[in-house]
């Protein structure tokens, strides 16, 4: 089955420390993968996308993600967390099999503490 799994529903880090948000996918096709961020009562903002070009993708606000086919993973990282990074993060897949819909993971709530 085609799916996106976010391994942590909540992640808490201290400001200035690294962030790791984990995502695995399952697809019979070459997937397109995205990370979106949603601040409270706001829309979804695209952080970065992978579409079979470079496996290390750099996004906005210092975030990056690495596509690892052997591990079917697309983890999101940032070297140093900032208070403004606190939000919900969605790993999203264009998993193929016909159509253009996106499949969302269940989200990871990132908390950044002083």
């Amino acid at each position: 089955a085609q799916s996106v799994t976010q391994l942590d529903s909540h992640v808490s880090v201290s400001e200035g420390t690294p962030v790791l948000l984990r995502c695995n996918y399952s697809s019979s096709y070459s997937p397109s993968l995205f990370w979106y961020v949603q601040h409270p009562n706001k829309g979804l903002q695209l952080l970065l996308k992978y579409t079979s070009a470079a496996t290390l993708v750099k996004g906005i606000n210092g975030f990056e993600a690495e596509f690892k086919k052997s591990e079917t993973s697309f983890h999101l990282t940032k070297p140093s967390a900032h208070m403004s990074d606190a939000a919900e993060y969605f790993c999203v897949g264009g998993l193929g099999g016909g159509g253009n819909k996106l499949t969302f993971g269940t989200g990871t709530q990132l908390k950044v503490e002083l």
Binding site: K42, G43, Q45, L46, G94, G99, N100, K101, F104, T106
Partner: protein, 115 residues
């Protein structure tokens, strides 16, 4: 830069009423998508249109219908509203073939509350 516009931003309806949500895509974007995000849930794909034709269909109830107009804006019509329809409805747009590699840019959403 211009973004996806959704109107209204908030909507309150009674059960069994109808609602119409509107979406104006980013200029030159030819594909529109609708998603429903229930409380504490991840967004679920409802339906999409490419060049004014339905291109994909997800878990959209039969009570809902949608279309894309000649100016590429889209409307989601919801009838016989139920309490469970209360959610945040996102519209997204993209430019391209309407395929899975297209980047979808999301609007701010319309929060529908059914009483």
């Amino acid at each position: 830069a211009a973004g996806v516009i959704q109107s209204p931003r908030h909507l309150i309806k009674e059960k069994r009423e109808t609602a119409t949500l509107k979406c104006y895509p980013i200029p030159r974007h030819d594909t529109v998508y609708w998603y429903q995000q229930g409380p504490g849930q991840d967004p679920q794909f409802l339906i999409s249109f490419y060049e004014k034709m339905q291109s994909d269909k997800g878990s959209i109830p039969d009570r809902f219908s949608a279309q894309q107009f000649s100016d590429y804006h889209s409307e989601l019509n919801m009838s016989s509203l139920e309490l469970g329809d209360s959610a945040l409805y996102f519209c997204a747009s993209s430019i391209g073939t309407g395929g899975r590699t297209d980047t979808q840019y999301f609007g701010p959403g319309t929060r529908l509350t059914v009483l």
